[in-house]
Subunit: 323 residues, 2 copies
């Protein structure tokens, strides 16, 4: 690497998870350790294509040499981006890789226009499925992280979120996957529907407060056995008006109904299988409780560790092999 | 009626349907004919309690004698209000009547504070149900209209709307009822969720465009047999991204999925029964098509005729009997 200074203090490479609502970046050393972390609310949802380059520069500026440095510049810092930045409406489209395939194929990474010359930016693609039609962007990197840790994993991955993903993994490939709108339905119903009156609005659907565990469990059972009862969620409004149902209990029932509907729909995926649940313990507790009650074997993986492991694997494939 | 002028041109009474998002009023003659109609966007949702009196005066001002008329005033005009104006957060609370009961009990009508002295305003109560908890305000008046026309009706009434109501009617009473969030779920998903991209946003879920009838029917069948598949509506987003699914077809599939989930949940209500569908033909076409395909015997009633018939019956009970 000509021009690199021996005392260079900057990162060896930069890992970026760029979602719809925020951006997270890590300064990585040559051994793949995260030296520093930064976050920004400038998610893909609020940016025009030409905004991405400057937004990334602003987020990682502390890790870069001065832009106006006279004389020879260092080589640009390898910067790997996963997530919605690669969507059609993002920085630059990284076309989906169709399943069945490995979750990450670094050869499909694209180089977006307008990046800071101090950064060598590559955006990783998401995955698509023809039938039933489905897409993911970002979760494939977490799945790659799981496979990097457990190359022989054969089972199902569940990634709760705005659009929860279930993926069937075998022989280091994503065989098929399905998205469920549980997180978005929960957010819409608890903040924008008639149910918002008398509902505690915070948190993810998988969060279950201890005082409402029985409400969650009962609603979950109802929805798993009669998922059509989700159409009757208006009962929560009536329970508030007529019986002063406490907000934390209303929230737990809504969570239970929506997760129950999802688990009824995903039953063929998790029944009798190992389910690797990728998500923070709090927001995914409801999933773990429900799946274990149904006899699924649940293992857990921290989502930040998963995305970093996935980006480490991609970095090794893209840059270390080339050296 | 002392002080009434023989040449009085005003209405004999006024009928008002005051919902969450708008107000409709009719000037009625002594024979119960609607002489004039007016509408205002000043629904209950946007009004503080003290705003209701002036809002009603403004809506019906053309039908009233001048407010500052010197000398003896006419008797105040009987004015019957149904709908959300009687909610706890409305003009004044008209406490729910618990089912089983007749849909209208004029003795339970309340007199709100702050009405124009030229109006004798009474607000009709809604209905409540203890188990499962449920409430309605406004639909009970349409049900009363159905019963006024067909006193021997024994069957089920379906009133599609933001919160669709199903009610079991027997011996001129509402025996039980259930609310479904189909209309609100449709509005939230088609305008505020990820599905809004690539969705035609207008209309009610029961509207089915002719070019998308097959999509509606297929989605309906899917949701009626596997209602949990509603959790997987994200597929509509993926179909848009991957296969350019036309907006009108995406809309029809969303409609079909949501109405299918409702019909799966309400199956015990409509199976093998007469269903009186109260709603305009366009916005409720999907309900009629689906119910008839399932062998239900569907009859129809215009919603404006229904609410006016209900208010006529209440007017007769409150004022004509008293004279």
């Amino acid at each position: 690497m000509s021009g690199e200074r021996a005392d260079r203090a900057g990162p060896d490479w930069i890992a970026v998870d760029w979602g719809t609502s925020n951006l997270r970046a890590w300064a990585m050393d040559a051994e793949g350790r995260a030296l520093a972390e930064t976050a920004s609310p400038r998610g893909m949802g609020g940016l025009a294509p030409e905004d991405f380059g400057p937004a990334l520069t602003a987020a990682v500026a502390d890790w870069l040499p001065p832009a106006g440095l006279p004389g020879g510049l260092s080589d640009p810092v390898p910067t790997l981006v996963c997530g919605m930045a690669g969507a059609r409406a993002g920085w630059a489209e990284a076309p989906y890789a169709p399943v069945p395939c490995a979750p990450l194929d670094p050869a499909r990474a694209i180089t977006p226009p307008g990046a800071d010359p101090r950064l060598d930016v590559r955006i990783l693609p998401g995955l698509s499925q023809a039938r039933p039609a489905d897409v993911m962007r970002g979760e494939e990197t977490q799945i790659a992280g799981l496979i990097a840790r457990r190359p022989r994993f054969d089972g199902v991955v569940c990634l709760p979120g705005t659009h929860t993903k279930w993926a069937h993994i075998s022989a280091e490939e994503v065989v098929s996957f399905r998205s469920f709108m549980t997180g978005e339905l929960y957010a819409l119903l608890s903040t924008s529907s008639i149910l918002r009156h008398g509902m505690r609005e915070d948190g993810a659907p998988g969060e279950v407060s201890p005082d409402a565990a029985a409400d969650f469990a009962e609603a979950l059972d109802t929805a798993m056995s009669r998922p059509e009862s989700v159409a009757g969620l208006f009962a929560l409004r009536a329970e508030h008006l007529l019986n002063d149902l406490p907000p934390s209990r209303a929230r737990a029932r809504l969570s239970g109904m929506l997760i129950g509907m999802e688990l009824a729909a995903s039953r063929p995926w998790w029944l009798g299988r190992e389910v690797a649940l990728i998500g923070a313990p709090g927001p995914t507790a409801g999933y773990a409780t429900a799946l274990e009650a149904q006899g699924a074997y649940v293992t857990r993986l921290d989502p930040t560790e998963a995305v970093l492991d996935g980006l480490r694997a991609a970095h090794a494939a893209l840059w270390e092999k080339a050296e």
